[in-house]
Symmetry: C2
Subunit: 368 residues, 2 copies
Amino acid sequence: MSLPLDLTSHPHRRFNPLTNSWVLCSPHRTKRPWQGQLEVSPTINLPEYDPKCYLCPGNTRAQGEKNPMYKETFVFGNDFAAVKVETDIGRMNEAEGEANDEADEAPSLFLAHRVQGVCQVICYSPSHNLTVAELSTTSILSIITTWIAETLSAQSLPFVKYIQIFENKGSMMGCSNPHPHGQIWCTSVIPEEPAKELDSMKRYHDKCNKCLLCEYTRMELGKKLERIVCENASFVCLVPFWAIWPYETMIISKRHITSLVDLNQEEKIALADIIGKITRKYDNVFESSFPYSMGIHQAPVDGEEHVWDSHLHIHFYPPLLRNPTVKKFLVGFEMLGEPQRDLTPEQAASRLQQCSETHYKMKSTSSQ
Amino acid sequence: MSLPLDLTSHPHRRFNPLTNSWVLCSPHRTKRPWQGQLEVSPTINLPEYDPKCYLCPGNTRAQGEKNPMYKETFVFGNDFAAVKVETDIGRMNEAEGEANDEADEAPSLFLAHRVQGVCQVICYSPSHNLTVAELSTTSILSIITTWIAETLSAQSLPFVKYIQIFENKGSMMGCSNPHPHGQIWCTSVIPEEPAKELDSMKRYHDKCNKCLLCEYTRMELGKKLERIVCENASFVCLVPFWAIWPYETMIISKRHITSLVDLNQEEKIALADIIGKITRKYDNVFESSFPYSMGIHQAPVDGEEHVWDSHLHIHFYPPLLRNPTVKKFLVGFEMLGEPQRDLTPEQAASRLQQCSETHYKMKSTSSQ
Ligand SMILES: [Zn+2]
Ligand SMILES: [Zn+2]
């Protein structure tokens, strides 16, 4: 006579098999009183062109370089890059590997090594006042085409082992410029998060002889779609069973492919379609611009085989909780203990399912 | 002729042996232009008593309970607890362990289990308008005494395996009430972060037959004190070599003890002293109230022996970067890739070393 675990009402932990970690879920928590900080709502009426924006076409950037009059996307090297290419590769190679702060000490407590890399900025559109949610599928497709071109270009650099494509949207996510843009950081190391995923996926495949994300996607599609937000022929967008952020989602390719460069033309269009769908749904949740960090996880380019320990997917981590000004804070217990959430992933998925795929700003001019 | 790694100028990664993870350091980055969000500065002139505050003495809380006219500290059960004690322990025990969302599926992709626990709130002082930085050593000592009493009390609950003491200070850290207070979450599981530390410390001890934090502290004290912020007879406060947050610090006990309950009277006073020192230094960095999440890591109370895989320490994670309104965001690359910092831990330590141990508000009235 065991009491079954009820994921809709009992405090519980869920396991994230991708990163081998846990999240604490507290679905019983009712709304708590809020006396805290209100975030300023994002400015709504931006100009299509801002003469002071360093990303707008024709404008001059910090280091004096002038942007071209680009029509679709535009890529340039970040003037304040977190990692950079060493001019003297030979000496870099010699210095590579583990280096200690002081050589006479136990190595593991003061371990550091150099990192080489390239940081690129990618403008998504010449229009200062648009976001991905307001771009056409054709415009999103040109972002994807640019991501692929940059991936191929970065792959050709011998020191690059990982290509991390990401976007911070909204001032709440620390984004200092509303002009639609993302970043591409190529590094001589595989960063922590993708390294954890690769490790988990490798262990899963070693054990089951199956791809973890192929299996997960198959199971989710068979489960009355309780966590599926939207899908098309090639991709599914869902709230993962182990999501940390209130409206966190993942876009997963239905076919087992490991990198953007493996996408066929039909899949590129399908990816543009589903990115458009989820970002419009996001904006519709509170009928305001929905901040997030978004990033693509794909196979490293370190010369190793990554057929079964990687599977192309995109994470969306949005901070909003109750309304456009109240965000979730990852503080206190979440920093010292482990991540915690109140709203269940299933409740979040249900809310996102109900949001229209047509952007709220288009409602008055659309018959949908 | 290898080029040595220069931690003050070369982009590099540092290894965190406590959590077995990496942080990317970019010391070459100059100050970047900032067009982003400015945080509202915390209100400065709060009343000593706020009739609307649910933590002030004599006031009534959300569920109708009335606070006593407490003089030092006051502890009560969180009315909106993330975890709770099951009324029917027997059934809870039967349902414990791994439970699947649906029993007919591969267990590892939909793994969840119940969590039991107790969430307490601890008011640090009856004064609504004080923070730890403004409390006397005697008042901080009574907080420590309360932490110890609550730890002993929680240890006696058979289902409690870990006691996480923490504090969120400041609206920037999501704290909804300025009244000085912290929290104690006791859970039937060892949360992620302490579990990672225990694992790393166990592996280190298995390998070297030494305590990782004893060794680390010994080495830091021998290193011309470049990362030491302050110390006393029983504790050292330092910016860890692998710090993520700009002004992150750790307080580590010099004696190998694993829990607050092991502190002797002299050490309790020394702990109060060093908590006072670091929090006053923090407030002095920008001469304003310095937000942070703080938390204590100590041995689990799960019935296992934790003599060598734990060592009492306190983490401070403050978000401020350049001034009291600009905070560091852990977004984008940090969410999708790995944590990154510009200011080096050594630069942060140097800044904190230079800050007075006398609170800036006391300067005019003090001869120090
Ligand atoms: Zn612009
Ligand atoms: Zn109060």
